[in-house]
Symmetry: C2
């Protein structure tokens, strides 16, 4: 399976290096070739680099690491036809972390702009610094990667990649749930910055053991007052 990164920024670069170190063929794409070459160097040279069009032609899985629509960074959005496109983007950080409600997810806009792409929202709920951790650390902390997408096969493929890096892949349903995941990322970015928890903080799904709920009365039909 070949993986490419479109728009090699901090998030995409870090994830791409992880994939390369895990043995995948990785192609870093960027408008600024030096930026892509820098990522290749971090892989000890065991990756390729070039423009974004070239990257997309190479990859079966396209990590969309840029907060822009396909028409802005590719020759033609149809280059994404049939590709699994992993959208890891979130909106900009507003003043004092006062995030507006998300009425349409970035991932949904991406899917509309490239209707032949198999878009999966994933990897958007933590800072790049957490990507850097070894699988054993990620597994011991149960770090969640939430996935939303309409193509079940594509979603399963991205989930398997996440698991391989040590994450706990959580299927959050169809692409229409991407707005929830982006909102979740906004809360996490508020935690990181606004609450001062730092870049190694995230929110993970925890499953507690089931207890007999009758002990404290269980669920009872209750009136409003």
């Amino acid at each position: 399976m070949k993986i490419c990164i479109v728009g090699t920024g901090n998030m995409g670069r870090t994830l791409g290096v992880k994939f390369a170190l895990a043995g995948y063929e990785v192609f870093f794409g960027a408008r600024d070739i030096a930026q892509a070459e820098g990522a290749v160097a971090l892989c000890g040279g065991a990756a390729r680099s070039g423009g974004n069009d070239e990257a997309v032609a190479f990859g079966d899985i396209v990590v969309w690491g840029v907060r822009a629509m396909p028409g802005e960074v590719l020759r033609d959005p149809s280059l994404l036809d049939g590709k699994v496109v992993v959208d890891m983007n979130n909106g900009p950080v507003p003043a004092d972390f006062h995030y507006p409600p998300i009425l349409e997810a970035f991932a949904e806009r991406l899917a509309k702009a490239a209707p032949g792409a198999r878009v999966v929202k994933a990897f958007n709920t933590m800072a790049q610094e957490i990507f850097e951790h070894d699988p054993v650390i990620l597994r011991s902390h149960g770090v969640s990667v939430f996935l939303a997408g309409d193509d079940e096969e594509a979603k399963a493929a991205v989930g398997a990649l996440a698991e391989e890096l040590g994450f706990n892949a959580i299927d959050a349903g169809a692409l229409e749930r991407a707005a929830m995941l982006e909102t979740q990322a906004d809360f996490i970015r508020f935690m990181i910055g606004g609450m001062g928890r730092g870049v190694f903080a995230t929110l993970n799904l925890t499953q507690l053991p089931a207890v007999a709920t009758q002990r404290l009365g269980g669920r009872q039909p209750t009136k409003l007052t």
Copy 2:
């Protein structure tokens, strides 16, 4: 410290029983006295019950366990003057968990309706079944209780209560952040119901160890494309 529950439903009853079993003086208030008496029975009789007005007169800390404004359940909202009011409410569950964006938090409406109350948003991000767990289980899973409020002393008091029950109290800032916590609860309720994770699932703050981020390139100034 005396604690009362206004509107003894599933969430309020369970939390109230936990406080009673932890040794606090607890008063269960409800319009339907039988409902409040049922909660007292779950405490082995070591609690009191009565109407909501009577409950509020008793408590220093008022657990607001009812999705209604003070004027709907109390003789007068001014009964809440000076009280620490713990708002654990979330909005109703919409069809197929398609939650609308929260433009004004329930907690903020509560604070407006009872301007003398010291409102703290808390305990709204998990199902009542998790409240039932023993402190040792909650601590071992790092179960987060997020708090938002404008009165620092009130928020600290509620945080200390949460810690006593075994939760990890997380200060999420001023009351204006309550909408984020209610949105967070919507995501958790989607997880519980829409994703089929069940009532023992929640989202917790996890702090991963800090690693040297230079290893994979650190944070670099990047261009958009």
